[in-house]
Symmetry: C2
Subunit: 221 residues, 2 copies
Amino acid sequence: MDVMLDTEGKETSATHGAYRRLRDMILTGELPPGQKLKIEQLRGLLDTGASPVREALSLLTSDMLVERIDQRGFRAAPVSKCNFEEILLLRCNLEETALRASIANADRAWEDRLVLRHHHMKKASLKSAPDFEDAHKAFHMALLENAKLPLLLRYCSQLYDLNIRYRYLAAGGPSYKKRDIAAEHQQILDAALDHDADSATQHLLNHYRRTGEYLSSQMES
Amino acid sequence: MDVMLDTEGKETSATHGAYRRLRDMILTGELPPGQKLKIEQLRGLLDTGASPVREALSLLTSDMLVERIDQRGFRAAPVSKCNFEEILLLRCNLEETALRASIANADRAWEDRLVLRHHHMKKASLKSAPDFEDAHKAFHMALLENAKLPLLLRYCSQLYDLNIRYRYLAAGGPSYKKRDIAAEHQQILDAALDHDADSATQHLLNHYRRTGEYLSSQMES
DNA sequence: ATGTCAAATAATATCGATATTTTTGGAGGG
DNA sequence: CCCTCCAAAAATATCGATATTATTTGACAT
């Protein structure tokens, strides 16, 4: 029925495509917190069938970006200061564990990956904001990935996304860049390359807590 | 089409019903790790449509009980000693955080709930194994729920389920009862009621690590 | 005998349509 | 004037069917 037009050659399954697009829309606030997510409406927005949309929403439910209400459909997850503070707390806890384990397993290949990702991130900061966001997450996940704890990494990734959502909502975009975030990243990188777990975690957590305070300060509800 | 026979009056939506049943089957090992989960086959087993089955599998994916492979369908998540040890590690980390926060918020109502759940669990241990399992989880979650950190509680619940799966797989059922698990629960309860966070976490983690060692010892792959 | 390619088969992913449930809107009674 | 109840409308949940994609089987050439 649909002619497979691979002109863009990006996504494989319609479900996965819908998942990615919806996730982006919720993270960036294009679909605001608490908004009712009607299948028909989304079906139009993503021009795909109802089944992929439904399945994408189901998947987003487990990422805690979408809530399911009885048999009354779905809505974008609400936000609250409480929720934000819990995310911050868990992130600090889990990322410390992951980073320490990552450094404990440190080897040359990992260090190379780190340097590479950091370089990509610096390059991307000159380009578009979405590119920087992707590279930024890639760098942070690279810091943790050497722990070789897939479940932990998954949780960290989820919490990262939940956190970034608050950044978008608070600033309508990455306006937090005013702080010298590049220096903070450099400190974390250097400490990790030195295998100095204490210093690296200290810098990492300060990095998170500082953005946390900034965002927390401009939240009302 | 389907006559709504609420004779059992249990489940509301077909999707949720399928989710619960599949989850149980995977946790208990009725659907063994790594097994291909074909839609048609499950559709027959649960006698429902393909859509609810698909959606249930999607949900189980995020509970890490089911894996999705490209566009080649689903399979029950594999198991490994590595995976088990990660679950144990994360559980110890997260439950310690949750229990300490729970105790910090301690109030009379919570203590009452704890005592009640503990009582229910003791009563249920005389009845059927599934009843005990439910009560056992309810008790453990009650220990943590007063932290009032919903995300954390959710992770703990997920990890609890992943862990219980290994228990079923190792013993074909709760044969681990040989150890005096009742005494361990009593110690945890008493410490929690005393608001002694250090003692409570110590007992809780020992509780987990002891079962962990037992299970780890009889795992080959 | 073996490796490769192509047709047949099976299973998934997706669509369109239907039945069920929830919500809305309005009429009648208190 | 407000509350309750019933009918109409909308939206969801589910089903059956189709098209797409992966897997297997068998034939042919090497």
